[in-house]
Symmetry: C2
Subunit: 476 residues, 2 copies
């Protein structure tokens, strides 16, 4: 049975059920009605019933019971996605998966999540309000979706400022280039809008979800903070905090956590995050902790008792469920809803079907990689959209849409014209895969080396400075 494709099972199962039902009715008639029926017919019906029962068991793995339909998950237990979710990507804070080599279908995600597309009009408006060329992540649709960004800009134009909030789950010491995306973009936002920023390191979350000790998670938080600081944030405008530290250092933060926890039910987090009754109570209540920094009075050392300061959260789209929940709660506890800017996922070297993984060294370029490692990884592992032979490539051209080296260049190569030329040359076959990879290597190597140099300059003292609750320097 295991070789029967799904669609066939779906077709044949109802057919068997109907037959089985019919046979039972026949036998009921034989038994209940007291009408005489020739013995041969009874025999035939009984034989059919027995055969159908055997087939039913083969097909569903369950014994047939009259009136008890087979349980849902007994149907098609081992082959592929369900019919109605066949082409739906999985995107939540813990899982991102797609079967499409181009990656997740972000337009569909916008519809599913109910957010708004960052269209050219919004990009132009950001340019106008910020008075700066939009960041390449905006120009190239890497930050592709938003919530309430127009409202943030409306207020900013009326001299009502806002603050930025982003974060990271510190599950290991090693960060890869993909982890930098929200920080690179957030730094740009901080610079052009001249606003304060809070960065949450959810070491408590990692402890709850992973097989790690509290001490490990906290250590990873501090190590990750160094990489984040190396992105160039302004210490006078940036507060980085570990949950394990800050929750126990700020009664105001805890008060907001409790307020949120009072206004979200288990049913709601079950629906949003897919928690089950076997999940620990820490996981179930954690979403409130990621929500709390969205409200300005969680940081009295920065904002005093003001609870009305608008928050803008740049993050990867997989974090949106937390903030859908936050935005639902906000008006019920008297706070403004945070606005959001969502980024696409950074593809793994092996292709855009999955998010990069910090646990697979070959799936990504790490911030600790040497120039040689970078070269080897790109050459060896970066999925290519090129043809099998140079001759074919010259003749038919490569496919930049699935080529990971090209995708990486869209993230890191600043020059739009150069990028466009690379795309055209690659598609035409003028540019070979090896040449494209060389361009990426030459882009990544200095970028990573410079990051490593900046990180070296981040002393424990600097980390302590960034992570100490304190006033920040800004004008609202």
């Amino acid at each position: 049975m295991s070789c029967i494709p799904n669609w066939e099972q779906e077709w044949t199962l109802p057919y068997y059920l109907i037959l089985l039902g019919f046979s039972c009715i026949c036998i009921c008639v034989l038994s209940d009605s007291s009408i005489w029926v020739p013995q041969a017919e009874i025999d035939a019906a009984v034989k059919l019933l027995l055969k159908l029962k055997v087939d039913y068991k083969q097909m569903t793995g369950q014994d047939y019971k009259a009136g008890c339909p087979p349980s849902e998950n007994s149907i098609a237990p081992d082959n592929g996605p369900a019919a109605d979710g066949a082409d739906e990507d999985t995107v939540d804070p813990w899982n991102v998966a797609t079967t499409n080599a181009k990656g997740v279908d972000y337009d569909k995600l916008i519809v599913r999540f109910g957010s708004n597309k960052i269209d050219q009009e919004l990009v132009d408006r950001i340019e106008k309000v910020a008075g700066q060329t939009p960041h390449r992540f905006l120009r190239r649709g890497i930050f592709f979706s938003h919530r309430d960004m127009h409202q943030v800009l409306d207020a900013y134009e009326k001299n009502k400022s806002f603050y930025l909030y982003t974060g990271r789950g510190p599950s290991s010491e090693a960060m890869h280039v993909g982890h930098l995306i929200p920080f690179i973009f957030t730094k740009w936002l901080q610079d052009v809008f001249d606003i304060p920023l809070v960065i949450q390191l959810t070491d408590d979350e990692k402890y709850l979800w992973k097989d790690l000790t509290l001490e490990d998670c906290h250590r990873f938080a501090v190590e990750n903070a160094k990489d984040i600081i190396a992105c160039g944030f302004d210490v006078n405008k940036t507060f980085i905090f570990s949950d394990l530290d800050y929750m126990g250092s700020s009664p105001e933060f805890y008060r907001n956590v409790v307020k949120i926890q009072k206004h979200v039910t288990y049913n709601q987090v079950k629906g949003i995050f897919g928690f089950t009754d076997s999940d620990c109570i820490g996981k179930i209540s954690f979403p409130a902790i990621q929500a709390a920094p969205s409200f300005s009075n969680s940081f009295p050392q920065i904002f005093g008792s003001r609870k009305d300061i608008q928050c803008l959260i740049p993050c990867a789209i997989d974090q949106d469920p937390y903030f859908r929940m936050t935005r639902d709660v906000a008006p019920r506890i008297g706070y403004p809803k945070p606005a959001l800017l969502h980024s696409t996922f950074f593809p793994a070297l092996q292709g855009a079907q999955t998010k990069m993984s910090a646990s697979d060294a070959n799936s990504s370029i790490f911030l600790t990689d040497t120039p040689k490692q970078i070269k080897n990884k790109v050459n060896k592992h970066a999925f290519s959209g090129g043809k099998d032979t140079v001759e074919e490539h010259r003749k038919y051209g490569g496919n930049p849409d699935v080529d990971v080296s090209f995708m990486y260049l869209t993230f890191f190569l600043e020059d739009d014209e150069q990028l466009e030329k690379i795309k055209q040359d690659y598609a035409s076959g003028a540019l070979l895969t090896g040449e494209l990879k060389k361009m990426l290597i030459e882009t990544l190597q200095p970028m990573i080396t410079q990051h490593q140099e900046r990180r070296k300059q981040v002393t424990d003292e600097t980390v302590k400075q960034f992570m100490t609750p304190r006033p920040l320097n800004f004008k609202l």
Copy 2:
């Protein structure tokens, strides 16, 4: 059907099920075997089957389905309590109810909760180890149940000390005499064993459970702290804390909360506390916050990094579910299990069927009541075990077991002989209800007046002192 007692249903249902099963087998044989059976027998079997199906439906409310047993809760849907829970008292942190005028059946509760009775042997042992006459609450079985108290005394005899932990949920400014029971007893324990004490005020819990603001709950915590301090605790050995304050002041406390939250599932708290999917996530995760003070490293300012100091929790028995959970988690996170001493409930003036309620002014003697209010309340509301007329009372005597005035005297009259004499005189009819009430009034009035005088001396400065995380003065 609804008048059939439970036991009969329990007997008859299996009987019907067996008959039904048998009939089905008969008909199967008729259908499947192809052996000839006289038509009359088939008719009879079919009739029996149909009758049984009708009976089954009447009894269970469900249609009979071969192979599908009736679901558990479909049996006896509408008549009274289940057989095994018929006379079971309700005791959990939010509800205490019994139908017995003498109050909850505490012996049964010990069996149900799996704790141990405080017997004369243990009372004698406490007397020996402490070198003091046992407190009247021990002498009179008001603290009646324990967990691991012998272990605590074993260690204490070997110069391994312990610390005390008790608490209160500050749901209003007004505390009544019943609220003092754990504190009066805890003060005695602190004095005789010369040990540190932490007192948790669960203002976060009250915010989560009640229709109150955070500010109100915190204010009630501080007001309640004054009444607690007025019980005479040693400021050098006592730390009182509001969760809303301390959670945000102690990273070590939060670390323990997260540790506990990682090791308790929703299924477990659902089983222990009866939470439902509609409960907010704050309630679901709160038990970890009441558990955390059971571990000494939650208070590094007192115990440094030591996590091995034994905790003893004196509390009313309704709080036991929290600590059953705590004791289950403790070894899994490398901490000793807290020991417990459980008290009975303080009866409402109206009788021992329920716990006193802070929301009904006439259900209890409040710590703010004037001597006149005390007199009126006792005379007017204290449920009497006396007879209707003086003549009958003299002739048949009163019933001290259900008389609230006598119960209150067992809590507050120090002299054992005097109490015994009152009991005998009341039972014999020599002592009238009015005279008994007068004795209670004369016991309560000076007690409350003195409490009020001590409370007046508790300044904001004193409260701040008690509630500041700081080292305590003790030898372990």
